[in-house]
Symmetry: C2
Subunit: 334 residues, 2 copies
DNA sequence: TAGATTAATGTAAGCGCTTTCATTTTTAAC
DNA sequence: GTTAAAAATGAAAGCGCTTACATTAATCTA
């Protein structure tokens, strides 16, 4: 692989000049520029980005930490971030935290030591203190899906409480009063916030939260399936189920169908996140939108603006969920 | 951020010695090692991986190119690769090709120039020649989901033809003879191979391939939805639909349900890939398994073995699909 | 046309680390 | 107590690039 030195030799100019034309900085006469371009082409020269990073202390890459690489939720987030950044000629290094504190930290360290110019972090586990400290470091950081006191200006998050409120109000307005709730894992902030919204909606309607109608799931189809089975087997009567995300709702509905329960005729369902797939099942899932892509867009543009001075977007910290009414909720009988 | 130099100063040893203890290479006395560890801890020293890469010409990171970052197919692939590599202390840099030749190439260049020790590439568009040339470079490359003559030893792929065969045979054995086919985009090799399997199954049963029952989709829900509408509106009769992947099958089924057609009573469906979601819809989708995770596992282990000398897996190039019978195919009437 | 600007190019010192080779220290062998 | 071999350490030359700063060439001013 040819180095900048080979190019300078062939073109008969200095290293500095080659560097100037490669990076399009400083003044270079057209004649010289042409010579350099020719030499580069002839040698099939491509700059060694590692060396560039080391010398310039800038890597043109931004690190992204998500909790998982698969699943319907993080994919679109990564896609949006990659897309924004790539079109600005920045590159993305992705790491996964796997909902594990040690791995999350390790991933952050990796991205940092990898010389990322900025980090976009969707951290589920690490403490607020850790994140506050992280934000004090010299690498700029945006936090996604999380609101942390003291560094609110670095956070892009969804109003999960409101989302929970919206979902539960909807079934309440349809006359349901025995409402089961399949929650996400409560160590995750968004799961707690959504649950809080649910409780608040219940309270608005003068209803008490009933532990017997509560199940803590895992945000996955399996958890919804299992939760539904537990709820049904408990013998407690209920006519609607609010699920803290669409995946669990899908699992729960699958179980109902298996047991011959009709949805929504016998049981109504609301999900959360509005992922694509449940639009394609029957009944189409009523849910709450989660503008995760918009948040990714915002985070990526923040980086572009703050780190590379390239965007002039107005930073919006808090995104609003919206109720998406489809077919899975029906008026309560009686 | 502390550098190795700071550590050496504080520990009162040379740079070389610090490097030795950081990398655990060469001989260092216990006493010295302890001093260095203390100094590192005290300074919160973390090696600059960029500088390490530049100096050692090894980055401990492997590049992964997929066509998309989202969707139910690539997620699990990335997850598996990341998981294998991470447990061997290697890191993953992911880039997306977006089914576009220029972007695929650019992504490969990026990963290469980024100093990856190896590449795992799921290339859809670039030519075989490009890939052959790529494999001749000094960075080791594994190709996933693709079989290229001349570099077969670098390819990990699925027997798509057999998969197509399996899917179509299944509906044929259930007595269907008017079978519609919703294909993936034909510029993708796997779409072509699956179609070929379909045609072969038809031929086995003495049936001719009928253009009127063919639709070229996009491997996405929307394509299946649209394809189904086109097929239905064409007025051609058919009693079963073979879809080249599960996502299109889901879209197609959604349309049927919207139009009040019962599945599988009136129309049978087979998918391909066995992604998680359609297991949770009704009817549960009969499909063909695609051991994409196993392939990811294999590719990652190949890298571990060939590049880092750490695994001793037996390389398996070709993976076999299997029919997964669930509920979406029913015996043809009459 | 001398003198002052400005443009174009070159020189060389790093960036933080690895690694070869030389040097010093320790251990072993007799 | 020598001496040879082995172990531990250090010195220094890069890895491929960027970037102050210095230098030279070109252009302008009066």
């Amino acid at each position: 692989m040819a180095t900048i030195y080979d190019v300078s030799l062939l073109a008969g100019v200095s290293l500095a000049t080659v560097s100037r034309v490669v990076n399009n900085t400083g003044k270079v006469s057209d004649k010289t520029r042409q010579k350099v371009h020719d030499a580069m082409a002839q040698l099939d020269y491509r700059p060694n980005t590692i060396a560039q990073s080391l010398a310039s202390n800038r890597s043109n890459s931004v690190g992204v930490l998500v909790s998982q690489l698969d699943g319907p939720f993080y994919g679109p987030l990564m896609r949006e971030i990659e897309s924004v950044l790539r079109s600005a000629n920045k590159h993305v290094i992705i790491a996964a935290g796997h909902s594990d504190a040690a791995q999350e930290k390790e991933a952050v360290e990796f991205l940092l030591s990898r010389g990322c110019d900025a980090l976009i972090v969707d951290a589920e586990i690490v403490t607020n203190d850790y994140l506050r400290k992280l934000c004090q470091g010299k690498t700029p950081v945006v936090l996604i899906n999380r609101h942390v006191e003291g560094i609110a200006d670095r956070c892009v998050h969804l109003d999960n409480l409101k989302g929970g409120l919206l979902a539960s109000r909807h079934v309440l307005e349809f006359g349901h009063s025995r409402i089961a709730y399949i929650s996400g894992p409560l160590f995750k902030l968004d799961a707690r916030e959504r649950l809080q919204g649910h409780k608040q909606a219940l309270a608005e309607h003068g209803l008490a939260f009933d532990e017997a109608l509560f199940f803590e799931g895992d945000f996955r189809e399996e958890g919804g399936y299992e939760g539904m089975a537990t709820l049904l087997d408990s013998g407690e009567p209920f006519s609607a189920v609010v699920c803290a995300n669409d995946q669990m709702a899908s699992g729960a509905i699958a179980l109902c169908l298996e047991r011959g329960l009709r949805v929504p005729e016998e049981i109504s369902f609301v999900g959360f996140d509005d992922i694509p797939f449940p639009r394609y099942i029957s009944p189409k899932l009523t849910t709450v939108s989660n503008p995760i892509q918009d948040m990714g867009h915002m985070a990526a543009n923040w980086v572009l603006k703050e780190v590379y001075g390239q965007s002039d977007i107005d930073f919006n910290h808090r995104f609003e969920p919206q109720l998406v009414v489809r077919e899975s909720v029906q008026r309560a009988l009686g």
